[in-house]
């Protein structure tokens, strides 16, 4: 039976069919839907881990104990998981261990555009790259086989366009596997220097052997057409090449690290002009050129952004660029109407504070008119940066705050807070507790009291965590109460130590209800105070200030800033 499936769901299906027993992940666009889908299979234990490092350690433990395991994350999540990754490469596996990593060319929903293949080369871990949903499923199953055969974790690299496209997939049954026998094996699994030195030799030999064997892997295949042009490609780019250059011969690589150099050399010699088409880094190109094979690559293709069939025609055939986008006002993403973060950013903007930000929906606090953010780098970085502000300039603490989401705080903010207390920093940390992992589409986390399968579990108390690490000044406010939020922030700034303000209110999108929307009445003086909220439902149009009822979620924040009582509606 064929089913239209998201690339991510196809990975989940492949893992299930391959008999996977354990799945762990921290949500991250565009990888989140892999584990959301796996959680629907009762045969598989699945979890949202607090971060990607823990997720990979859970996967590795399950693998050592003999189960097949899959761990999923976005490209920057792999940075967090690098510590276990690099040494899991040395220990190898027992049950197959597959790490699905989704890159984000064109940076649709990330903080950078890094290329996972380069990390894999450093870690000496093989990488498979599917080109659509059908391959996403097949390659996932194949990745488990390779993992067990070559005794290595295997990375399944996706990109946004493969992870978040849907195409048809042939469904098969699950192959139920028992646990592989576990035997204590200190030289294999205990990576102390004497063992690690030996294992490094094994890893190098494994990579060499895999490169040699991959010459005949069916997932590395030549589609022979004309002689004049040959293209080496993989993943989503293969689909663009096939569409843009129907007469070109193609070497489609399924395994993109290590590479089948003999096959590549033979292919390059079989055509007059040989091109490597790959998004982001010149990964294949660099290895191929180092082997003395003549190809074109980044001489003609960009290092940034995702490709398309059009871009390939332009760069290879010299086709003229497409028409330009109409010159119209930009529409950047904004905090949703009714977003509980808005009240906090309104206050921070009003007080003109420096805001060290973090990764989540609330990064949108940087968008005008709120513009209440000074720096955003990676998960958990806000608190460390706030400590740095304070240590660089003793006056900074009274003018600056760190803001971090509930899920992000658990992911990697807690250690920053411990540092603040331990090293006597003067910082104010605002935990934007919207009771979910918002940006990635509402996943549970340790402080929601629910597991990925919606079972009840211990609900981590964020205020108690803060007190436990030594923060004496901890308070909780409703961020839609602007006066209370402002006085809580001011009190924290006045404190010569570490203060935590927990701005607690559930994400407005968690409530699946319909709204009538508020209305502006005749008392409106057009003072535009409400526009400073940056609420997308408040419209400053030809009919004066109005509220777009298709967007309004009746949060009442606008009533809080209106001095004239000009907004009708009741907060329910």
């Amino acid at each position: 039976m064929k089913k239209l499936m998201l690339g991510d769901h196809a990975v989940a299906r492949g893992a299930w069919e391959a008999g996977v027993k354990v799945a762990a992940a921290y949500p991250g666009t565009p990888s989140t839907e892999i584990t959301e889908e796996i959680a629907r299979f009762p045969e598989v234990y699945s979890e949202w881990s607090p971060n990607e490092k823990v997720a990979l350690e859970v996967g590795l433990g399950a693998s050592i104990k003999g189960a097949r395991a899959i761990v999923s994350m976005k490209h920057v999540g792999l940075n967090v998981a690098c510590d276990p990754l690099f040494t899991a490469s040395y220990t190898g596996v027992n049950g197959g261990l597959v790490i699905a990593v989704a890159d984000d060319p064109s940076v649709f929903s990330s903080q950078n555009e890094q290329d996972t293949r380069l990390t894999a080369v450093s870690a000496k871990v093989p990488v498979l790259e599917p080109s659509d949903s059908a391959e996403a499923k097949e390659f996932t199953k194949y990745a488990f086989e390779l993992s067990e055969k070559y005794d290595t974790p295997v990375i399944l690299r996706l990109t946004t366009r493969v992870a978040h496209s849907q195409s048809l997939v042939e469904l098969e049954d699950r192959k139920e596997l028992g646990l592989r026998p576990y035997e204590k094996n200190i030289p294999k699994y205990v990576m102390m220097p004497a063992n690690a030195r030996v294992k490094h030799v094994v890893v190098e030999e494994r990579t060499r052997k895999l490169s040699e064997d991959s010459e005949t892997f069916p997932i590395n295949r030549v589609e022979k057409k004309g002689r004049s042009l040959g293209v080496i490609c993989s993943g989503g780019v293969y689909q663009y090449v096939k569409e843009a250059l129907p007469d070109a011969s193609i070497l489609k690589l399924g395994l993109v690290y290590p590479l089948p150099i003999g096959l590549i050399r033979k292919f390059a010699e079989s055509v007059d002009r040989c091109i490597v088409a790959e998004e982001l880094a010149p990964h294949i190109e660099t290895i191929v050129k180092a082997a003395g094979i003549k190809v074109e690559g980044k001489e003609i293709f960009p290092l940034e952004g995702e490709f398309s069939a059009k871009l390939i025609r332009e760069r290879v055939l010299g086709e003229a660029p497409g028409g330009a986008c109409a010159n119209v006002p930009a529409r950047p993403p904004v905090l949703c109407a009714g977003c509980p973060h808005r009240g906090v950013f309104y206050v921070l903007s009003k007080l003109k504070l420096n805001v060290l930000g973090d990764i989540g929906c609330y990064t949108l606090g940087a968008v005008p008119p709120l513009s209440a953010m000074d720096a955003v780098v990676c998960m958990g970085a806000s608190i460390g940066m706030a400590i740095g502000f304070d240590k660089a300039d003793p006056e900074a603490h009274s003018r600056s705050v760190a803001v971090i989401g509930d899920s992000t705080f658990i992911h990697s903010g807690i250690t920053g807070l411990i540092d603040a207390v331990y090293n006597k920093a003067k910082v104010t940390v605002i935990i934007l507790d919207n009771r979910t992992t918002g940006m990635t589409g509402h996943q549970d986390h340790p402080a929601t009291g629910k597991t990925i399968k919606k079972e009840d579990t211990y609900e981590l108390d964020l205020a108690e965590v803060c007190r436990a690490v030594g923060v004496k000044d901890v308070c909780t406010v409703n961020p839609n109460d602007l006066a209370a939020t402002e006085s809580a922030v001011k009190a924290a700034l006045a404190n010569e130590g570490v203060s935590v303000v927990i701005a607690k209110k559930p994400c407005v999108l968690l409530k699946k209800r319909l709204y009538e929307g508020f209305r502006v009445n005749e008392k409106c003086k057009k003072c535009k105070a409400c526009l400073k909220l940056g609420c997308p439902a408040i419209v400053n149009g030809k009919d004066g200030i109005t509220i777009d009822v298709s967007l309004c979620t009746e949060c009442g924040l606008c009533q809080g800033v209106c001095k004239f009582g000009a907004i009708d509606g009741e907060v329910k």
Binding site: L4, P329, R331, T363
Partner: protein
């Protein structure tokens, strides 16, 4: 859609308007009638009130999941300004089916830019008062069902099959409202 050639539909709008639902309904319909289909979606940050586009390609043996500039047979736009923004994706002779709804982007709200005037005269195709009709159907949230009704009529799709595809993709308690919205959209073009 009876011919074997590929039909490329670009769906554009503002994050939160239901463009993902629209592409999934088209995908379901195409699968139900035995065609090859590829959809490409945008999730994550771009969904938060930003400009969003999803691609739907229906035909035989589709390779790329994305539509190139100048390649769309039809643009289904949930907001007028977004139709104009992506007009260069339209194929020569292609049509735009657009909602006449205006949603102010933040630069317009803050006064840094103006909402363009005379958009409709630049759009080759048909406008639908999706917001007005959705309120008639029960709630503004059903505006996407209005647009899908209009799309069904416009493209000459099998109404029963297409409506069933829609109803299979939405929460059961909203079925009646969406059915009304679909019918209003169907009658509007």
């Amino acid at each position: 859609m009876s011919e074997k050639k590929t039909v490329d539909i670009l769906i554009v709008g503002v994050g939160g308007q239901g463009t993902l639902l629209a592409s999934r309904v088209l995908g379901k319909y195409a699968t139900d009638i035995g065609r090859d289909v590829k959809l490409s979606e945008v999730h994550g940050m771009a969904q938060r009130g930003g400009s969003v586009m999803t691609y739907v390609r229906i035909g035989e043996d589709i390779a790329s999941p994305i539509i190139d500039e100048g390649g769309a047979d039809l643009i289904l736009a949930f907001e007028k300004l977004e139709a104009l923004r992506y007009l260069h994706y339209l194929k020569k002779g292609g049509e735009v089916l657009y909602s006449t709804q205006e949603i102010m982007p933040m630069p317009v709200v803050t006064g840094a830019a103006e909402y363009p005037k005379g958009i409709e005269s630049q759009l080759p195709g048909v406008g639908v008062d999706a917001l007005g009709l959705s309120l008639e159907a029960g709630n503004a949230k059903s505006a996407n069902a209005v647009m899908l009704g209009a799309l069904c009529k416009k493209m000459g799709l099998d109404r029963e099959k297409f409506e069933n595809a829609l109803l299979s993709c939405i929460p059961p308690k909203t079925i009646e409202m969406n059915r009304r919205a679909f019918a209003l959209g169907y009658a509007a073009v």
